[in-house]
């Protein structure tokens, strides 16, 4: 991690960006996995942006000039992936579904990052009773099965209101509640570790205020694992969203297209030989999660010196000499520096 991130400012701006820098330093199979992930994710994002243009129909469209859509029609030239029991066009819903997924991911992860990072920094830096209380609460929430928490939250937050934003925000909020403790823990751990780093101590010795230390010295260093967490949490939020939809707490079809919801509705179809209503949203979920997870895991591996160990990458002699000294404060996954076994597993 150290070398790549550090080389950022000097190299071109592009190659300094997280994913691109990772792509540059990846090799062989690791590169293959990263590229596969990027292609899948890119495809998914493309669908999101282009859904209004490439989807043959609207997500809640039931008829066109030539009349109402037939129900449960097998894939045909008019409906490439068939239609559902309600008469929706499956292809359109799958494509529009990517929009819902992205919106939920972005809102959910953005909110949880914001809250989790803020709380984690404060808790980790100040310690004391605030920290203890927050940790116990975070642990408690973490112990609550995430899907069920999401269900309760979605009832609490929106009362199951089905408007597009109502549904999205409810899902996003409920996912947020589940994720905040995760970010909180990671950031807090990182903050605690950084707090003992000489460069933070040196700021303390200089008399820098706490806010300055948190803002200028800890924040950027503590959040370097975020791109990784973002991708992994993104895939997890898709799964949570799908699970919510599956249990009937999703977004109603007239408000938005949602894969999990469609898959849930398709359960009955599948056992009746109507496979197209369930398989396509299912595949969409799997591929998207697969893509995001591949990206996340690849980044993780590339960040973690232990996992990147046998890469054919490394550095010029001078660079690795620097890395020797810096390993402690920079390695994203080098829990070994903290000597804390659990952490190692955690970040991995």
């Amino acid at each position: 991690m150290s070398t790549a991130t550090f080389s950022g400012p000097k190299k071109s701006f592009l190659s300094g960006l997280p994913v691109i820098s990772h792509l540059n330093k990846s090799v062989g199979l690791q590169r293959g996995m990263l590229i596969t992930g990027l292609v899948l994710t890119g495809f998914f994002l493309l669908c999101t942006i282009l859904a209004p243009f490439i989807a043959p129909y609207g997500y809640s469209q039931l008829s066109d000039q030539s009349g109402s859509f037939p129900a449960q029609q097998a894939p045909s030239s008019k409906h490439l992936l068939g239609t559902t029991v309600g008469g929706y066009d499956v292809l359109s819903r799958v494509l529009w579904g990517s929009q819902t997924a992205v919106t939920v991911i972005v809102v959910a992860v953005a909110m949880s990052i914001f809250l989790g990072v803020a709380l984690g920094l404060l808790s980790g830096y100040y310690g004391g009773w605030l920290d203890r209380v927050l940790v116990v609460i975070a642990d408690a929430i973490y112990a609550f099965p995430s899907l069920l928490l999401a269900i309760v939250m979605s009832i609490v937050i929106s009362h199951g209101q089905s408007s597009f934003w109502g549904g999205i925000l409810a899902c996003a909020f409920s996912i947020t509640v589940v994720f905040v403790p995760q970010y909180f823990r990671v950031i807090r751990a990182e903050t605690i570790r950084l707090k003992a780093e000489p460069f933070v101590e040196s700021a303390m010795v200089l008399g820098a205020s706490s806010m300055r230390i948190i803002g200028r010295h800890i924040f950027k260093n503590a959040t370097r694992t975020l791109p990784l967490m973002f991708t992994l949490n993104a895939s997890e939020s898709i799964l949570t969203l799908a699970g919510l939809g599956f249990l009937g707490f999703g977004i109603e079809p007239s408000s938005a297209a949602e894969w999990g919801f469609d898959l849930n509705k398709a359960m009955a179809d599948a056992s009746s030989g109507i496979w197209w209503t369930g398989v396509f949203p299912g595949i969409a979920i799997v591929l998207t999660v697969l893509g995001l997870t591949l990206v996340g895991e690849s980044i993780n591996d590339l960040n973690d010196p232990r996992l990147r160990g046998r890469k054919r990458a490394g550095g010029k002699p001078s660079r690795s000499a620097a890395a020797v000294g810096q390993g402690g404060n920079t390695g994203a996954g080098t829990g070994s520096a903290a000597g804390n076994g659990t952490r190692e597993a955690g970040n991995a």
Binding site: V135, D139, Y142, L148, V152, G243, R306, A348
Partner: protein, 363 residues
Amino acid sequence: MTSLIEVPDVEPVAVAPKRKSGQGGGLGRYIVVRFFLIIPTIFILVTLVFFLMRVIGDPITAAQGGRLPPDVLAQRIHDAGYDRPIFVQYFEYLGQVVTGNFGTTITDRRPVVEMLSTFGAATLELSINALIVALAVGIPLGLLAAQRRDRATDAFLRFFAILCYATPVFFSGLLLKLTFSVWLGWLPVAGRTSTRTELAMSSLAAPSGIYWLDALRSGNFAAFGDVVSHAVLPAIALGFLTAGVFLRLVRTNVIGTLGKDYVEAGRSRGVSEFRLVTKHAYKPALIPIITVMGLQIALLLGGAVLTETTFEWKGLGYQLVQYLNARDFVAVQGIVMLLAVIVAITNFIVDVVAALIDPRVRY
């Protein structure tokens, strides 16, 4: 849903035993302190769920809202005492819990303890089955991947691992069912037993609720076979999900320890690569693995909702969703309480086991 990100345990309030402490009495004290840390977790969860439940509506509206005029409804809610000040209700509830009175579920009128033991047993059985699959698949493949790292085998296994948890369990469950039950007809569709076995086992004096155990105890091998055949698909669906996590976990940590000096030291002594992976690297890697696994197990217990729903497995997760829909305060509170206890105790056990594996805290 299993968590993709195993959040690091930052020796929170849970003081990870100071590895250095060579002094005696460390572990015993650690265990005691760690044990008492269970209580706040449970307390917070119980409180959380109590208030959340009051926010989302009452069971009477849920059941009768569609039939009764609003004034009658309000009267009934009043009769049931659900409109009293919330803190009065809360402290009443706490009082009951402390005295060991968990009440009777509102929607299906079962004593909570009985309800928990019935469904808890089902969930426990499912979790054990899934765990067996997860361990049997995840750990050897994880070791294999670690040993073959960056080769084709490794890439394949990692892909497999990601697929395992990228596939929502209801989707994989559906595919499994369609393939093995409907199409091939090898295995039953859903449920925990066939009716016949269920009846056969209902004659047992003190059923444990763990069906394979009961089937064995009834000395009926056909019944046992029946129970096992029902258990296969759910165990695979849920087990593979977790296996994906385990595989990755084992791989990462073993690779981590493989880079340690002591592995290099072993290599320099001429120890074979196989042994380096399976002995030298694996056992130290076990400590973080077990920590995360414990969390996974705890999540398994509460997170099997989707599997239970898909496979007609009447366990806590499925039931919790039902009760939630019915706004059955009492039942939901009871289940969450149990889950909290399980999670807390699992974490506790895991910490203690990890401490036991690690000789540095043993003395």
